[in-house]
């Protein structure tokens, strides 16, 4: 048994899943980096982690929502305005990106199971998803420009304040999702791919959640503006 | 050491109870008609909280004294966890809900009643760091407020415009809150800048001034005297010195006072 704090652990290269003691298993990356070795034991911890993280994000937006409702009711100064039309285009793009990501995820799974040996296909779909994500962010920026052109700034009216805050917070969270996609792409495109199934899954859950969150925000904006 | 702990805990518990039992520290005498309910609620809560406090500390001390031992077998509390949970739920539950219900009654007596039709309306304004009060004058109407006209240098604390608003002409602005005794007062509370609070210990009234939201309280006093109004909502550097006086007067004194104040406007 190790006695000092910095002694390296005795690495035992066996990582048969059944030794992982059920729920306590840690996803082991095969040292040889063979993606097919990953098979299907994605990590419980990262799945829990992502759900917990999404719960926290939901809570944050719930707080913003209640702030919006209270603020709208606190004074008679809420100015209604037409949502910039580019938002609907953005919505379509974001929904489409979720689909391309899902295609990619299936392809990665197929690749991992050995049904398909072409890595280029899932990678291609991932790039498409990434591009659509960037288009969405650019589209949101265009929406802000559109509002600015109408003379609606952050401090013009509580409605515009909330519009900017909500869309900016969503875009900020979406950028995190883009970071996740970049990580997935880089791991998958390595000569010996090091992508873990759980990473792929987590990144796509997060991305889909951003999608759902956006639909929710759009509904909220549509109802309140 | 265990015995020392036991003795210390028990001594602290009893020592803490002494100033309460001796009434060394008590709220000042109540001058309001709604206050007796609160005072009664206070002493009942004090009794229940005090008994719980003493019992828990003394039992803790006794058990520590008795069971800090190395010999003997591990025993278990008669009744076990189930008994304790039942005791907690039943005894404490009943106790606190009874307190809650009676307390709610006292609260409802103040807040769920509307001021009577003859209640005297006075406006109170809180600002950094003083209270000012406004009486509607003979016309019984308050002139409208113009926040842009507020100028403390010229003593226009409310932003009145008597030159243009006839209702504002006879409004009387004062730095102290004088009220006739045994008369219901309807206090309209207005915050000028940030959050403040209106607290008169003797009146058993504490209510925040909320910027952007005018709230009101109503009360009737029953003792002539001069009492402190203090601010209890942190409002800035002068918070500690934000105060005014509540002057409860006989009707005759009040009339004279109001006349004198009106002459100084």
């Amino acid at each position: 048994m190790a006695t000092t704090i910095h002694e390296p652990p005795a690495v035992n290269a066996i990582h048969a899943p059944e030794l992982g003691a059920g729920k306590g298993a840690w996803p082991r990356n095969p040292s040889e980096g063979n993606l097919r070795m990953l098979a299907d034991h994605s990590s419980g911890a990262s799945r829990t982690g992502i759900w917990v993280g999404l719960a926290a994000i939901s809570m944050t937006f719930a707080a913003f929502t209640s702030a919006l409702v209270v603020r709208q009711g606190s004074a008679l100064d809420w100015r209604h305005f037409a949502l910039p039309s580019v938002l609907y285009f953005n919505t379509v793009i974001l929904l489409a990106s979720s689909m391309t990501l899902e295609v990619s995820r299936r392809r990665v799974a197929a690749f991992a199971r050995g049904f398909d040996s072409r890595r280029a296909i899932p990678l291609g779909w991932l790039y498409v998803t990434l591009a659509m994500g960037l288009i969405f962010v650019a589209g949101q920026f265009a929406a802000w420009m559109q509002l600015k052109a109408q003379g609606l700034y952050l401090a013009t009216n509580p409605s515009s304040s909330f519009f900017y805050v909500l869309t900016a917070m969503h875009a900020l969270h979406l950028l995190g999702g883009l970071g996740g996609l970049v990580l997935v792409i880089s791991r998958l495109s390595k000569q010996i791919p090091t992508l873990r199934r759980s990473t792929m899954d987590t990144a796509s859950y997060y991305w889909h959640f951003m999608d759902v969150l956006w639909l929710y925000l759009l509904l909220l904006l549509w109802l309140k503006f | 050491m265990a015995k020392l702990f036991a003795v210390t805990v028990i001594l602290i518990a009893i020592g803490s109870a002494i100033p309460i039992l001796m009434h060394t520290f008590v709220p000042p005498v109540d001058i309001s008609t709604h206050g007796p309910l609160i005072d009664e609620q206070m002493s009942e809560t004090m009794a229940e909280a005090g008994i719980s406090f003493l019992a828990a500390q003394i039992i803790l001390g006794v058990f520590v004294w008795k069971f800090s031992r190395t010999q003997g077998r591990i025993g278990s509390f008669p009744g076990g966890a189930r008994g304790l949970v039942a005791a907690a739920v039943i005894l404490v539950g009943v106790e606190v809900f009874a307190l809650g219900a009676f307390g709610a009654r006292a609260w409802a007596g103040i807040y769920f009643t509307a001021p009577g039709p003859n209640a005297m309306r006075i406006q109170a304004q809180a600002g950094q760091f003083a209270f000012y009060f406004r009486y509607p004058g003979p016309d019984g109407k308050f002139g409208p407020l113009h926040p842009d006209l507020i100028n403390e240098g010229t003593q226009n604390f409310f932003g009145l415009d008597p030159d243009h608003d006839p209702e504002a002409k006879d409004d009387i602005v004062t730095a102290e809150l004088a009220v006739p005794v045994n008369r219901e007062i309807h206090l309209l509370m207005h915050a000028k800048d940030v959050g403040h609070s209106f607290f008169v210990r003797e009146l058993r009234i504490q209510q925040d001034f909320v910027p952007g939201l005018d709230v009101s309280v109503h009360f009737t006093t029953n003792k002539v005297g001069r009492y402190e109004i203090v601010c209890t909502q942190l409002c800035g550097l002068g918070h500690y010195n934000m105060k005014a006086y509540l002057n409860v007067m006989s009707q005759a004194d009040f009339d004279a006072w109001l006349k004198q104040q009106a002459s100084q406007q």
Binding site: M1, A2 | M42, T45, I74, S76, D193, V194
Partner: protein, 594 residues
Amino acid sequence: MHDMHVPAVHHHAPPQGFIRKHVFSLDHKVIGEQYYGLALLAVLIGMVLSWIMRLHLGWPTLSIPGLQLLSKNGAPGGIPTPEYYLQLMTMHGTFMVFFVLTTAPFAGFGNYFLPIQVGAEDMPFPHFNMMSFWVTFVAFVVALAAFFVPDGPPLSGWTGYAPLSALGAVAGPGQGLGQVLWAASLAIFCVGQLLGSLNFISTTLDMRCKGMSMMRLPLTVWAWFITSAMGLTAFAVLMPACILLILDHVAGTSFFVASNLVVNDQLQPHSGGSTLLWQHLFWFFGHPEVYVAIVPGMGVVSHVLITNMRRPMLSHRVLIYSMAALAFLSYMVYGHHMFVSGMNPFSSIVFSFPTLAITIPSTIIVLIWIGSLYGAKLRINSASLFALGFISLFVSGGVSGFFLAQPSLDILLHATYFVVGHFHFTMAIAAIFGIFAGTYFWFSKVTGRMMNETLGKIHFWFTFVGAYSIFMPFHYLGIAGNVRRYQAFVDDYLQPLLGVHKFITVAALVTGAAQLIFLYNLIYSRFRGPKAPQNPWEATSLEWTIPSPPPFDNFGGKLPVVYHDPYQYGIEASSGDYVMQDSPEQVQTVHDEK
């Protein structure tokens, strides 16, 4: 004995070099120590701030030597100005609540011991964990920076009520840049705690070793788990509130600032904001935060007490359910901070009942603790003394909750020293007793050396008697009508109470000075203390099955297998009156009493 251990492969390599080992470490134990160190730094600052405040309250005209060097504007000639007092008060609250009471018992001990106690090599997301600490550290630096901006830190209290906190520099010294830094610090802090909570929850749910069912988790793990669930929700609400507050400052929005406000005869350019919105958002965070501070202490105290009572609690499950009930109810009671705020008076009644109801799980917890003492074989040492002190203080703080839960009594007691006494007993001093109990208990595991017991006991007596001497009189002052957050008592009514304030100040200085004993003990024992055996307290949980200090991957390249409930004491086993959780030995086990 440990032949059944499962081999483990650590998911990040052992650190190389000083920076990776001690600064940007991925090791949950190092991160735990970092959190503890941060809390120690913050508590020292917070305590010095409280001394200055206490000295000023007791002797308002006293020139405090050297204070003018600290802040020339804030204390000309060494006498704190009214704004400086409030600024110190704000920062005292902010440092204590966020950087001491949240970091030490929860993030500090939790990071160190939660993975070990569940039988894991580390947290599942070590990078998040490292970020969690460093983000928190940045938050601390940002808060500290408020002292060094021209107008100093904000004066609006740790609750930062809008619109005072949202109007900007016109509202008072420190309300400009200082307040923005304060809000930014809190928002950053929230991010750090969210990352931490994420790790805590995932570790508890997914990293348990073989045999470690949820009910076999020690009470500490349960407390941290429940706390992280609360923290996750609470901090996720504070962060948006802080973002909106910052926008009101820097972008001219009107989330919290109402129309027609006039400050210094100048009409403010905001309109329509809601004053109560801030209070709702803040207290939705703020009340669970109280439990974030105290529940980990409950876990630690239970753990320490059981070990020293040589018997399990009367009911493991009931304690867990009660802590969970506290967490759940804590979201439904926040309105009791706002009884006199101008909120709908009907809501006050609605909030009053869950607040009173929260007494029930609290009482159950206390009764289980006290009831479990019955028939125990209590060992008195520094750790168990602090744990017993915790119970006493928690009871004292708890009974004052009876008063404050009732809107009708809140009329008299709101914003008085009664409230200050109440929350200092419960969330502050009791939580700090939890930290002390944990420190005396686990010190040997972390450092491999024992703390000095004699010094520990002297420290206990000063702190215990001191805490009562300081905070019990607060209640009396409150009953007599002494309003809080006043830098001096200028009104005639409060003059007679000045003597009590002087007494409290002396008690605070003595008690504070006694903490130097602890500090000395901590530092001296770290380097010179006698070598500790692996399991000095004859405890059963997994942290005592490994060497002190634990190896980098906790269990030496293996994962433990658990065979027993966490607290098998008071039995007959080969090792004595207890059996370790990972011992395969068959014993007559103690069952939860039904």
